[in-house]
Homo-oligomer: 238 residues x 2
């Protein structure tokens, strides 16, 4: 069934950019709509009886299988011509519906963008009834995205670059305990540039947000690196 | 006349927090609606034929008399109970209109927040036909604001604190040329704390965003401080 107007707010939607880190690459989740060849960010509408943030969380949790998620709002997109009624019609058609020309989802939408940084390994992307598939794509190798979703991804990347060092702590991009090298790799991937090992380590330690744990013994005991975790109490103050 | 539904997007609006710096205090512009005793941030609706950002700019320019304005989007507010139909009815009544219960402006609204940092001395606040007055109020002494406007102000303050050192340059908070002391006063007022003169000066100069000009001669020639301006080319790269 097509979504009914009296359940949802009109002219306003949300879209999410869900980042996962493979250890090597930054990827995001992309939906492919059934029988339409259209790729999109996971998004949705806001029910009249729910908070904007809850609507976005529910949408993400449903599609990732995660029980808990932290979303950061990064930008709201409101350009005059960002909506694309033809794509919406194509999606409806792929699902077997004929969408009337005056249907509310064909109207103009202002969309609120959220990002999430999640544990790549803990997620089982779950297609919903509208989508063929939902998959991880490297941010350097995305399929052509519908509407202004490419612009939304770029703006989300800018946002996580700006938020490195503050909001990034306490997220699930890394396992609970990690080495300095793994942390540096996250920074390098997000910033898309190499960082000097010694400078990075000094900077991170000077921020006073890491707790040092035991060494990670791998056999080559001489070179065993320390494990760290985020000191969430301190990190949240930054 | 009440605003007509087919001209505007429904369920979505904008609100603006317009900061000015008196040299001593940070103030914002607050509207008082006619015959209602209600105080609010300047805000409005988005015409179906205009970009979100243009709608917000137009709203601010009309009320400040400024010909040019730089707005920064900082957060979108979408809590379930943020709208307050009773206030909207009171406002309409104060203007001499009886608002029908099913009028679209009484519905739930998600609002996009923008801030602007403008030159306090160049602005002639202009009341519009709905408002009694529009005036500068110190952020430490605001009248009780309607709806969630107090929360919007607090979030805007957080945003300008975070943006200090990046987006703040090139704004109109200061005259084109200013002394280090005047610049420090802006920082101290926004951060709401005293900063050490020497540390502040060192930090600012190390950021390489200031151009040094002639000294400001005031008569007490021995102590004449240098004048600075923002090097916009460099500042925009930060």
């Amino acid at each position: 069934m097509l979504p009914s107007e009296n359940k949802y707010l009109t002219n306003v939607s949300f879209d999410t950019v869900i980042f996962g880190f493979t250890g090597e690459e930054l990827k995001i989740l992309i939906l492919e709509y059934q029988n339409s060849g259209l790729f999109a960010l996971p998004g949705g509408y806001i029910r009249r009886d729910e908070n904007l943030l809850d609507a976005a969380k529910k949408g993400v949790m449903k599609r990732t299988g995660l029980k808990k998620i932290q979303l950061e709002q990064f930008h709201t997109f409101g350009k005059l011509n960002r909506s694309d009624p033809e794509s919406s019609k194509t999606i409806a058609k792929g699902l077997g519906y004929e969408m009337p020309n005056d249907h509310w989802v064909l109207d103009r939408f202002v969309t609120i963008g959220y990002y999430a940084l999640i544990d790549y390994n803990q997620v089982r992307p779950t297609p919903n009834k509208f989508s063929d598939s939902i998959n991880w794509y490297s941010i350097n190798n995305l399929p052509p995205l519908m509407m202004d979703h490419e612009e939304i991804v770029q703006k989300a990347l800018e946002a996580i670059r700006n938020d490195l060092g503050t909001k990034l702590f306490g997220t699930n991009l890394l396992p609970e305990k990690f080495t300095m090298k793994e942390l540096r790799k996250v920074y390098e991937t997000i910033l898309n540039k190499k960082l000097r090992r010694t400078t990075f380590q000094r900077k991170m330690l000077s921020m006073d947000i890491l707790t040092r744990h035991e060494k990670l013994y791998t056999g080559a005991a001489n070179k065993a690196p320390y494990l760290y975790s985020f000191n969430k109490k301190k990190a949240n103050k930054t």
